[in-house]
């Protein structure tokens, strides 16, 4: 045993990650969801280059065209004659970005809180009770409260979604970090005289990353869903901004004679969240052997 090279935690984590990805993609539903999400992300990133029209260019003469009728306006036009496909691409881009910023800032902050709570046990109680208080409120209430203070807009929604994510990630990160803290390599690092900051940065954080990442994936669909709901209420991005929830809200007024204006953005939110949830379920099945048949 002694001459076997002990893989560093990071390498071991990478190896598990590879086999997880392999097992995950063997599931047909997970494979389809992944493929779909990759396509969506690519389309969103490339929106400025692949969108056929300017999403804000209005042309009353071409207003309210139904989808699949005119090949130059594949998804039809809205009440101002703007191209729905272009708006959908830009809208998806903004909606995903909104969710991502909220997830990364809120999740990152939460993970930090959780890891610190696990490492410095003296602040554990205080930090986690604060998280309990935050957790006592649903995200939609943060959204309402912050929008009430600042007025409607994209920034308050992102802040609300981020705040609602902090306590969730703090809990996950703390419980993961507590397990990691019991590993021998943490004791070893301490015995060679590494300082707290170095242990946290080099050993604790990298080994908590995979669970944090998995949980963030599971959370992303929910964030998009809540963000879209807040936008739909008129509290998020303001018209004419192309954002999926805002677009769906605008389409409400034309529901009876041009249902596509509301349904196209709503359907795409549905599809994106569905793909994230299916992927999240598959990921959980792969990672939690207890649930596997």
């Amino acid at each position: 045993m002694t001459d076997v090279a002990v893989p560093s935690p990071a390498v071991a984590a990478m190896a598990t990650r590879r086999s997880v990805a392999y097992r995950l993609l063997r599931e047909p539903t997970a494979f389809v969801s992944t493929l779909f999400l990759v396509l969506v992300v690519v389309a969103a990133v490339l929106a400025p280059w692949i969108a056929p029209y300017d999403p804000y260019f209005t042309d009353q003469a071409k207003a309210l065209r139904p989808p699949f009728e005119d090949p130059s306006y594949l998804l039809g036009t809205d009440a101002q004659g703007r191209d729905m496909l272009s708006r959908l691409l830009y809208g998806t881009r903004l909606t995903l970005l909104m969710g991502l910023v909220a997830l990364v800032t809120g999740g990152g902050l939460g993970a930090l809180v959780g890891i610190l709570a696990a490492y410095y046990r003296c602040v554990d109680g205080l930090l986690m009770r604060t998280m309990d208080v935050l957790l006592s409120f649903p995200a939609i209430l943060f959204g309402l409260a912050i929008a009430a203070i600042t007025g409607p807009g994209l920034t308050p929604i992102v802040i609300a979604l981020a705040i609602a994510t902090v306590p969730l990630l703090a809990r996950i990160a703390r419980s993961t970090a507590l397990v990691v803290m019991q590993q021998d390599y943490i004791d070893a690092a301490r015995s060679v005289g590494l300082g707290d900051a170095a242990i946290i940065r080099r050993y604790l954080m990298p080994n908590c990353l995979s669970s944090i990442f998995v949980f963030m994936t599971l959370r992303f669909g929910q964030i998009i869903l809540i963000g879209a709901a807040l936008s739909f209420l008129g509290l998020g991005a303001q018209p004419p901004t192309a954002e999926l929830g805002t677009m769906a809200a605008n389409g409400r007024d034309f529901l009876f004679f041009a249902p596509h204006i509301a349904t196209v953005p709503s359907l795409s939110i549905f599809a994106i969240v569905l793909a994230f949830n299916v992927l999240g379920d598959a990921l959980r099945d792969v990672l939690d052997p207890r649930l596997r048949q």
């Binding site: 649903p138 769906a248 299916v278």
Partner: protein, 313 residues
């Protein structure tokens, strides 16, 4: 159990304090002077100053906060800038309809969700399980406004079957029930999925327990084993999990009320925020937060009551 409940109550004190603090700060950070807003555009400087005195706006912030808590505890939440009615009065009118909507949603969503989840667990891996779980994951992923739009467009507009704006009247009238159906279907529709998923997981866990094997070994029929032994024991965690979903439900209710012009707290809150009616927005947010706290507390107590392990502590 007494200790558990006391602990839980103590934990809600800082939360309650936080709710009130946020409510208070809401009026502080607002860019306009509340006295000017309350006085209206035609008021003289004297009137504004009188209102400032009256509201204690010249006092230090902590003193204002104390005054504010005192007022809230007396049920005085200020007056609406727009309608000039008391906020407490406006809120009072919206509580009933919101409660109506929540109950109408839960009475069908919870039994259906539990039935679907149990069925899926029993048929684990078979086609019924797959179909039910596909429905559930779709239910978890569908935006509540999308479901609402589809129901409004198809059932309300195309088929002209049911009304889709406002509340028709008291619950015991035919009109009242008709108006309630679509909002309740919308809100419940996004709640069935989570319940079915949670039920399936919980029932699956219980089905592998020793006492279920014993029940089977005794020769009990399978439906009896599932309903009397497995489901009954699974209900405790299911109740808790449903309680944890209340925030999600509350969010859905805000959207549903706004879509169907249902005169509830959520619609009032959104309307007040959009029209910058700060006192009403603040009051509605406090009420929503309190409702959420109370429901959580109730679920916790119910849990302690149902689970003998917590009871003994």
């Amino acid at each position: 159990m007494g200790r558990h409940i006391v602990q839980r109550l103590l934990l809600s004190v800082p939360v309650l304090f936080g709710v009130l603090l946020i409510g208070f700060l809401l009026l502080q950070v607002v860019p306009t002077d509340p006295a000017v807003v309350l006085a209206g555009p035609l008021a003289t400087a004297d009137i504004v100053e009188a209102i400032r005195q009256d509201l204690g706006l010249n006092e230090p912030l902590w003193y204002q906060f104390a005054l504010y808590i005192g007022r809230v505890l007396q049920g005085d939440l200020g007056k609406s800038i727009i309608s000039n009615l008391g906020v407490a009065e406006e809120l009072g009118r919206t509580l009933g309809p919101t409660l109506e909507l929540l109950v109408a949603c839960l009475v069908w969503a919870i039994p259906l969700g539990i039935a679907m989840g149990t069925l899926a667990a029993v048929a684990r891996g078979r086609i019924a399980d797959r179909i039910i779980m596909a429905f559930s994951v779709a239910g978890v992923s569908i935006p509540v406004f999308f479901l609402g739009l589809v129901l409004i467009w198809y059932v309300g507009y195309k088929l002209q079957l049911l009304p889709f704006t406002g509340r028709g009247g008291p619950l015991w009238s035919w009109e009242g029930i008709q108006h309630l159906v679509l909002p309740a279907l919308t809100l419940g529709g996004v709640f069935v999925g989570p319940i079915a998923r949670m039920t399936r997981t919980t029932v699956l866990e219980v089905l592998s327990a020793d006492f279920v094997r014993t029940a089977r070994a005794k020769g009990l029929s399978e439906p009896r084993v599932v309903v009397r032994h497995a489901l009954r024991n699974a209900l405790i965690p299911i109740v808790t999990l449903i309680g944890l979903q209340i925030g999600f439900l509350l969010g859905g209710a805000v959207v549903t009320e706004t879509m169907f012009s249902w005169p509830g707290v959520g619609r009032l809150a959104v309307g007040a925020i959009l029209s910058r009616d700060f006192p009403v927005a603040q009051g509605a947010i406090i009420v929503l937060a309190l409702a959420f706290l109370l429901i959580n507390l109730a679920v916790d107590v119910l849990y302690a009551f149902l689970d003998p392990r917590v009871q003994r502590r």
